[in-house]
Amino acid sequence: MQQNIIPSHAGTLESSDLFVRILPKKEGGVSIELESSVCEIYADAIKKTVLECANAFGADGMSIIVQDKGALDYVIKARVQTALLRAFGMNELDWSVL
Protein backbone atom coordinates (compact mmCIF):
# COMPACT_ATOMS: atom_id res chain seq x y z
CA MET A 1 0.00 0.00 0.00
CA GLN A 2 1.36 3.39 -0.98
CA GLN A 3 1.25 5.61 2.08
CA ASN A 4 1.66 9.34 2.06
CA ILE A 5 3.82 10.08 5.07
CA ILE A 6 4.16 13.64 6.30
CA PRO A 7 7.36 14.30 8.25
CA SER A 8 6.19 14.66 11.83
CA HIS A 9 7.31 14.75 15.42
CA ALA A 10 5.87 14.59 18.92
CA GLY A 11 6.96 14.92 22.52
CA THR A 12 9.79 16.86 24.10
CA LEU A 13 13.38 16.31 25.22
CA GLU A 14 12.44 16.85 28.84
CA SER A 15 13.04 14.30 31.54
CA SER A 16 10.48 11.41 31.60
CA ASP A 17 9.44 12.27 28.05
CA LEU A 18 10.28 11.03 24.60
CA PHE A 19 10.98 12.99 21.41
CA VAL A 20 9.98 11.07 18.35
CA ARG A 21 10.34 11.98 14.69
CA ILE A 22 8.90 10.22 11.71
CA LEU A 23 10.43 10.67 8.28
CA PRO A 24 9.35 9.01 5.07
CA LYS A 25 11.91 6.74 3.47
CA LYS A 26 12.07 5.29 0.02
CA GLU A 27 12.68 1.70 1.01
CA GLY A 28 9.78 -0.21 2.51
CA GLY A 29 9.52 -1.27 6.10
CA VAL A 30 9.97 0.61 9.33
CA SER A 31 13.39 1.47 10.68
CA ILE A 32 13.86 2.61 14.26
CA GLU A 33 16.76 4.69 15.47
CA LEU A 34 16.94 4.99 19.23
CA GLU A 35 18.97 7.10 21.60
CA SER A 36 18.19 6.60 25.23
CA SER A 37 19.38 8.45 28.28
CA VAL A 38 18.60 5.41 30.39
CA CYS A 39 20.54 2.21 30.43
CA GLU A 40 20.89 0.26 27.21
CA ILE A 41 19.09 -2.70 28.72
CA TYR A 42 15.81 -0.90 28.02
CA ALA A 43 16.65 -0.30 24.38
CA ASP A 44 15.07 -3.51 23.12
CA ALA A 45 11.91 -2.99 25.16
CA ILE A 46 11.54 0.57 23.88
CA LYS A 47 12.10 -0.49 20.27
CA LYS A 48 9.55 -3.25 20.70
CA THR A 49 6.92 -0.79 21.95
CA VAL A 50 7.67 1.64 19.14
CA LEU A 51 7.44 -1.10 16.54
CA GLU A 52 4.18 -2.42 17.96
CA CYS A 53 2.64 1.03 17.68
CA ALA A 54 3.86 1.40 14.09
CA ASN A 55 2.61 -2.06 13.12
CA ALA A 56 -0.82 -1.38 14.62
CA PHE A 57 -1.05 1.57 12.23
CA GLY A 58 0.10 -0.60 9.34
CA ALA A 59 3.06 1.74 8.88
CA ASP A 60 5.43 1.20 5.98
CA GLY A 61 8.27 3.14 4.42
CA MET A 62 9.21 5.32 7.37
CA SER A 63 12.08 5.83 9.73
CA ILE A 64 11.25 6.55 13.33
CA ILE A 65 13.88 8.45 15.26
CA VAL A 66 13.49 8.33 19.01
CA GLN A 67 15.21 10.23 21.80
CA ASP A 68 14.18 8.67 25.05
CA LYS A 69 14.52 10.59 28.29
CA GLY A 70 13.41 7.83 30.59
CA ALA A 71 9.79 7.68 29.47
CA LEU A 72 7.33 5.19 30.95
CA ASP A 73 5.89 2.64 28.57
CA TYR A 74 2.58 4.47 28.26
CA VAL A 75 4.36 7.75 27.50
CA ILE A 76 6.28 6.02 24.72
CA LYS A 77 2.99 4.75 23.28
CA ALA A 78 1.30 8.14 23.57
CA ARG A 79 4.16 9.99 21.88
CA VAL A 80 4.72 7.48 19.08
CA GLN A 81 0.99 7.23 18.37
CA THR A 82 0.71 11.02 18.25
CA ALA A 83 3.59 11.19 15.76
CA LEU A 84 1.99 8.41 13.69
CA LEU A 85 -1.39 10.16 13.63
CA ARG A 86 0.35 13.34 12.53
CA ALA A 87 2.42 11.49 9.92
CA PHE A 88 -0.75 10.06 8.39
CA GLY A 89 -2.63 13.35 8.75
CA MET A 90 -5.30 11.53 10.75
CA ASN A 91 -7.62 13.52 12.96
CA GLU A 92 -10.24 10.90 13.71
CA LEU A 93 -8.93 8.43 16.23
CA ASP A 94 -9.17 4.76 15.54
CA TRP A 95 -9.37 3.49 19.10
CA SER A 96 -8.70 -0.07 18.08
CA VAL A 97 -5.07 0.74 17.27
CA LEU A 98 -4.26 2.81 20.35
Partner: protein, 296 residues
Protein backbone atom coordinates in the same frame (compact mmCIF):
# COMPACT_ATOMS: atom_id res chain seq x y z
CA UNK B 1 -27.74 10.65 44.26
CA UNK B 2 -23.99 10.54 43.72
CA UNK B 3 -21.99 9.28 46.62
CA UNK B 4 -20.14 12.18 48.19
CA UNK B 5 -16.56 11.31 48.89
CA UNK B 6 -13.96 13.56 50.37
CA UNK B 7 -12.69 16.04 47.78
CA UNK B 8 -10.63 18.70 49.45
CA UNK B 9 -7.88 18.89 46.87
CA UNK B 10 -8.31 18.74 43.13
CA UNK B 11 -4.87 18.96 41.49
CA UNK B 12 -4.73 20.50 38.02
CA UNK B 13 -2.30 18.60 35.79
CA UNK B 14 -1.55 20.13 32.39
CA UNK B 15 -2.07 17.34 29.87
CA UNK B 16 1.00 18.38 27.93
CA UNK B 17 3.37 18.20 30.89
CA UNK B 18 4.76 14.68 30.96
CA UNK B 19 6.47 14.77 34.30
CA UNK B 20 3.34 16.15 35.98
CA UNK B 21 1.13 13.58 34.26
CA UNK B 22 3.44 10.75 35.31
CA UNK B 23 3.98 11.93 38.87
CA UNK B 24 0.80 13.69 40.04
CA UNK B 25 -0.43 10.58 41.90
CA UNK B 26 2.62 10.73 44.20
CA UNK B 27 1.28 13.87 45.88
CA UNK B 28 -1.98 12.13 46.78
CA UNK B 29 -4.53 14.80 46.03
CA UNK B 30 -8.13 13.68 46.57
CA UNK B 31 -8.73 14.09 42.85
CA UNK B 32 -6.30 14.41 39.96
CA UNK B 33 -7.65 16.66 37.24
CA UNK B 34 -5.96 16.29 33.88
CA UNK B 35 -6.38 19.41 31.83
CA UNK B 36 -6.77 19.33 28.07
CA UNK B 37 -8.09 22.87 27.84
CA UNK B 38 -6.41 26.15 28.71
CA UNK B 39 -3.03 24.82 29.81
CA UNK B 40 -2.51 22.99 26.52
CA UNK B 41 -1.32 24.85 23.43
CA UNK B 42 -3.39 24.43 20.26
CA UNK B 43 -0.58 22.52 18.57
CA UNK B 44 -0.42 19.99 21.41
CA UNK B 45 -4.13 19.22 21.85
CA UNK B 46 -3.70 15.86 20.11
CA UNK B 47 -0.61 14.80 22.01
CA UNK B 48 -2.03 15.82 25.39
CA UNK B 49 -5.23 13.88 24.67
CA UNK B 50 -3.32 10.69 23.93
CA UNK B 51 -1.00 11.10 26.88
CA UNK B 52 -3.90 11.55 29.30
CA UNK B 53 -5.74 8.68 27.62
CA UNK B 54 -2.86 6.33 28.40
CA UNK B 55 -2.13 7.77 31.85
CA UNK B 56 -5.73 7.25 32.99
CA UNK B 57 -5.40 3.54 32.25
CA UNK B 58 -2.10 3.17 34.06
CA UNK B 59 -2.18 1.38 37.42
CA UNK B 60 -0.81 4.46 39.19
CA UNK B 61 -4.21 6.11 38.65
CA UNK B 62 -6.36 3.12 39.52
CA UNK B 63 -6.82 4.02 43.20
CA UNK B 64 -7.21 7.74 42.84
CA UNK B 65 -10.20 9.69 41.61
CA UNK B 66 -9.57 11.17 38.17
CA UNK B 67 -11.19 14.05 36.35
CA UNK B 68 -10.53 15.40 32.86
CA UNK B 69 -11.18 18.96 31.82
CA UNK B 70 -12.11 18.67 28.17
CA UNK B 71 -12.20 21.40 25.55
CA UNK B 72 -15.61 22.96 24.87
CA UNK B 73 -17.80 20.88 22.58
CA UNK B 74 -17.98 23.69 20.05
CA UNK B 75 -14.24 23.34 19.36
CA UNK B 76 -12.77 20.63 17.10
CA UNK B 77 -11.18 19.03 20.18
CA UNK B 78 -14.09 18.72 22.61
CA UNK B 79 -15.73 15.54 21.41
CA UNK B 80 -12.39 13.76 20.83
CA UNK B 81 -11.26 14.70 24.33
CA UNK B 82 -14.50 13.42 25.76
CA UNK B 83 -14.33 10.08 24.03
CA UNK B 84 -10.69 9.59 25.07
CA UNK B 85 -11.49 10.39 28.71
CA UNK B 86 -14.55 8.13 28.90
CA UNK B 87 -12.86 5.23 27.11
CA UNK B 88 -9.90 5.52 29.45
CA UNK B 89 -12.19 5.38 32.48
CA UNK B 90 -12.07 8.89 33.90
CA UNK B 91 -14.40 9.24 36.92
CA UNK B 92 -15.38 12.83 36.25
CA UNK B 93 -15.64 15.11 33.23
CA UNK B 94 -15.06 18.72 34.10
CA UNK B 95 -17.12 20.94 31.84
CA UNK B 96 -15.33 24.12 30.87
CA UNK B 97 -17.19 27.44 30.81
CA UNK B 98 -20.67 26.38 31.86
CA UNK B 99 -23.07 29.25 31.27
CA UNK B 100 -26.44 27.53 31.24
CA UNK B 101 -28.39 24.35 31.81
CA UNK B 102 -28.14 23.63 28.08
CA UNK B 103 -24.36 23.36 28.36
CA UNK B 104 -24.78 20.63 30.98
CA UNK B 105 -27.50 18.79 29.07
CA UNK B 106 -25.51 18.84 25.85
CA UNK B 107 -22.51 17.35 27.60
CA UNK B 108 -24.67 14.82 29.44
CA UNK B 109 -26.10 13.65 26.11
CA UNK B 110 -22.65 13.28 24.53
CA UNK B 111 -21.38 11.36 27.55
CA UNK B 112 -24.39 9.04 27.49
CA UNK B 113 -23.95 8.44 23.75
CA UNK B 114 -20.31 7.52 24.15
CA UNK B 115 -21.02 5.29 27.15
CA UNK B 116 -23.67 3.44 25.17
CA UNK B 117 -21.45 3.11 22.14
CA UNK B 118 -18.50 1.64 24.04
CA UNK B 119 -20.58 -0.21 26.61
CA UNK B 120 -19.22 1.53 29.68
CA UNK B 121 -21.18 0.45 32.73
CA UNK B 122 -20.01 2.90 35.34
CA UNK B 123 -21.67 6.27 34.87
CA UNK B 124 -19.29 9.11 34.27
CA UNK B 125 -19.84 12.00 36.65
CA UNK B 126 -19.77 15.65 35.69
CA UNK B 127 -18.37 18.71 37.36
CA UNK B 128 -19.47 22.04 35.94
CA UNK B 129 -17.01 24.91 36.05
CA UNK B 130 -18.73 28.26 36.30
CA UNK B 131 -16.53 30.95 34.84
CA UNK B 132 -18.82 33.82 33.82
CA UNK B 133 -21.36 36.22 35.26
CA UNK B 134 -24.05 34.43 33.28
CA UNK B 135 -22.99 31.10 34.77
CA UNK B 136 -23.11 32.48 38.30
CA UNK B 137 -26.57 33.92 37.72
CA UNK B 138 -27.70 30.51 36.40
CA UNK B 139 -25.85 28.53 39.07
CA UNK B 140 -28.99 27.33 40.88
CA UNK B 141 -30.46 25.81 37.71
CA UNK B 142 -27.11 24.46 36.55
CA UNK B 143 -26.54 22.68 39.88
CA UNK B 144 -29.90 20.88 39.59
CA UNK B 145 -29.74 20.12 35.89
CA UNK B 146 -28.25 16.63 35.86
CA UNK B 147 -28.04 13.56 38.06
CA UNK B 148 -24.48 13.12 36.85
CA UNK B 149 -23.35 16.40 38.39
CA UNK B 150 -21.27 15.73 41.49
CA UNK B 151 -20.44 19.38 42.00
CA UNK B 152 -19.95 22.84 40.62
CA UNK B 153 -16.74 24.80 40.72
CA UNK B 154 -15.79 28.42 40.43
CA UNK B 155 -13.31 29.32 37.69
CA UNK B 156 -12.17 32.66 39.01
CA UNK B 157 -9.66 33.77 36.38
CA UNK B 158 -12.15 33.97 33.53
CA UNK B 159 -14.89 35.14 35.88
CA UNK B 160 -13.06 38.28 37.04
CA UNK B 161 -12.26 39.10 33.42
CA UNK B 162 -15.95 38.82 32.65
CA UNK B 163 -16.68 41.17 35.57
CA UNK B 164 -14.05 43.59 34.19
CA UNK B 165 -11.95 43.46 37.32
CA UNK B 166 -9.03 41.43 38.66
CA UNK B 167 -8.35 39.15 41.58
CA UNK B 168 -7.24 40.59 44.89
CA UNK B 169 -5.99 39.00 48.08
CA UNK B 170 -9.07 40.12 49.97
CA UNK B 171 -11.21 38.47 47.28
CA UNK B 172 -14.16 40.84 47.53
CA UNK B 173 -14.59 40.60 43.74
CA UNK B 174 -15.43 36.90 44.16
CA UNK B 175 -17.73 37.27 47.14
CA UNK B 176 -21.01 37.18 45.27
CA UNK B 177 -19.92 34.31 43.01
CA UNK B 178 -18.63 32.19 45.86
CA UNK B 179 -21.79 32.63 47.89
CA UNK B 180 -24.02 31.97 44.92
CA UNK B 181 -22.15 28.84 43.86
CA UNK B 182 -22.11 27.49 47.39
CA UNK B 183 -25.83 28.11 47.88
CA UNK B 184 -26.65 26.55 44.52
CA UNK B 185 -24.56 23.48 45.29
CA UNK B 186 -26.02 22.99 48.75
CA UNK B 187 -29.57 23.46 47.49
CA UNK B 188 -28.93 20.75 44.92
CA UNK B 189 -27.05 18.61 47.49
CA UNK B 190 -23.85 18.47 45.46
CA UNK B 191 -20.29 19.63 46.15
CA UNK B 192 -18.87 23.11 45.78
CA UNK B 193 -15.27 23.77 44.79
CA UNK B 194 -13.30 26.95 44.94
CA UNK B 195 -10.95 28.29 42.28
CA UNK B 196 -7.16 28.02 42.07
CA UNK B 197 -4.78 30.29 43.96
CA UNK B 198 -2.15 31.27 41.41
CA UNK B 199 0.75 32.62 43.44
CA UNK B 200 2.42 29.32 44.30
CA UNK B 201 5.05 31.04 46.46
CA UNK B 202 2.55 32.78 48.75
CA UNK B 203 1.79 30.14 51.37
CA UNK B 204 0.31 32.61 53.82
CA UNK B 205 -2.11 34.03 51.27
CA UNK B 206 -3.07 30.54 50.17
CA UNK B 207 -3.79 29.29 53.70
CA UNK B 208 -5.78 32.43 54.41
CA UNK B 209 -7.93 31.83 51.34
CA UNK B 210 -8.41 28.14 52.18
CA UNK B 211 -9.61 28.96 55.70
CA UNK B 212 -11.91 31.57 54.24
CA UNK B 213 -13.58 29.26 51.71
CA UNK B 214 -13.71 26.43 54.22
CA UNK B 215 -15.51 28.82 56.55
CA UNK B 216 -17.97 29.62 53.77
CA UNK B 217 -18.70 25.92 53.44
CA UNK B 218 -16.79 24.83 50.34
CA UNK B 219 -15.85 21.17 50.06
CA UNK B 220 -12.50 21.82 48.48
CA UNK B 221 -10.39 23.76 46.07
CA UNK B 222 -8.61 23.37 42.75
CA UNK B 223 -4.83 23.52 42.97
CA UNK B 224 -2.16 24.22 40.40
CA UNK B 225 0.89 23.21 42.41
CA UNK B 226 1.45 19.97 44.32
CA UNK B 227 3.16 21.95 47.10
CA UNK B 228 -0.22 23.40 48.00
CA UNK B 229 -1.72 19.99 48.78
CA UNK B 230 -0.30 19.50 52.32
CA UNK B 231 -1.11 23.14 53.17
CA UNK B 232 -4.68 22.63 52.08
CA UNK B 233 -5.11 19.28 53.82
CA UNK B 234 -3.69 20.76 56.99
CA UNK B 235 -6.18 23.63 56.86
CA UNK B 236 -9.01 21.14 56.36
CA UNK B 237 -7.86 19.00 59.27
CA UNK B 238 -10.61 18.90 61.90
CA UNK B 239 -9.85 19.93 65.48
CA UNK B 240 -9.58 17.37 68.30
CA UNK B 241 -12.81 18.76 69.78
CA UNK B 242 -14.64 18.30 66.49
CA UNK B 243 -13.34 14.75 66.13
CA UNK B 244 -14.30 13.83 69.68
CA UNK B 245 -17.77 15.25 69.14
CA UNK B 246 -18.15 13.44 65.80
CA UNK B 247 -17.01 10.13 67.25
CA UNK B 248 -19.49 10.46 70.09
CA UNK B 249 -22.31 11.23 67.67
CA UNK B 250 -21.49 8.20 65.52
CA UNK B 251 -21.18 6.00 68.58
CA UNK B 252 -24.55 7.18 69.84
CA UNK B 253 -26.11 6.60 66.42
CA UNK B 254 -24.69 3.08 66.28
CA UNK B 255 -25.85 2.45 69.79
CA UNK B 256 -29.43 3.51 69.17
CA UNK B 257 -29.54 1.43 66.02
CA UNK B 258 -28.46 -1.68 67.92
CA UNK B 259 -31.01 -1.02 70.59
CA UNK B 260 -33.69 -0.33 68.02
CA UNK B 261 -34.30 3.20 69.18
CA UNK B 262 -35.76 5.54 66.63
CA UNK B 263 -34.19 8.65 68.11
CA UNK B 264 -30.55 9.42 68.78
CA UNK B 265 -29.61 11.86 71.48
CA UNK B 266 -26.46 13.10 73.16
CA UNK B 267 -26.44 15.01 76.41
CA UNK B 268 -30.18 15.29 76.15
CA UNK B 269 -30.06 16.93 72.71
CA UNK B 270 -31.65 15.23 69.73
CA UNK B 271 -29.33 14.24 66.88
CA UNK B 272 -30.93 14.07 63.43
CA UNK B 273 -29.74 12.72 60.08
CA UNK B 274 -27.90 15.85 58.83
CA UNK B 275 -25.91 15.98 62.06
CA UNK B 276 -24.94 12.35 61.70
CA UNK B 277 -23.88 12.98 58.11
CA UNK B 278 -21.80 15.93 59.28
CA UNK B 279 -20.16 13.80 61.97
CA UNK B 280 -19.33 11.10 59.42
CA UNK B 281 -17.79 13.73 57.17
CA UNK B 282 -15.58 14.98 60.03
CA UNK B 283 -14.41 11.45 60.80
CA UNK B 284 -13.65 10.85 57.12
CA UNK B 285 -11.74 14.10 57.05
CA UNK B 286 -9.81 13.12 60.16
CA UNK B 287 -8.89 9.78 58.64
CA UNK B 288 -7.81 11.38 55.37
CA UNK B 289 -5.77 13.95 57.26
CA UNK B 290 -4.02 11.16 59.11
CA UNK B 291 -5.06 12.36 62.56
CA UNK B 292 -7.32 9.34 62.96
CA UNK B 293 -6.37 5.74 62.26
CA UNK B 294 -8.37 3.67 59.75
CA UNK B 295 -9.59 1.22 62.41
CA UNK B 296 -11.98 3.73 63.96
Amino acid sequence: MIQQKLRRSMLFVPGSNVSMVCNAFIYQPDTVMFDLEDSVALSEKDSARLLVYHALQHFTYKDIETAVRVNPLNTPFGILDLEAAIRAGADIIRLPKTDSVDDVLEMEQEIADIENRIGRQKKTMMLAAIESALGVVNAVDIARSSKRLMGIALGAEDFVRDLRTQRTKAGSELMAARNQILLAARAAKISAFDSVFSDVKDKEGFVYEVNYIKGLGFDGKSLINPNQIPWLHKAFEPSIEDITWAQEVLEAAKDSKIRGLGVVSIDGKMVDAPIIARARWIVDLAKASGVLGEEV
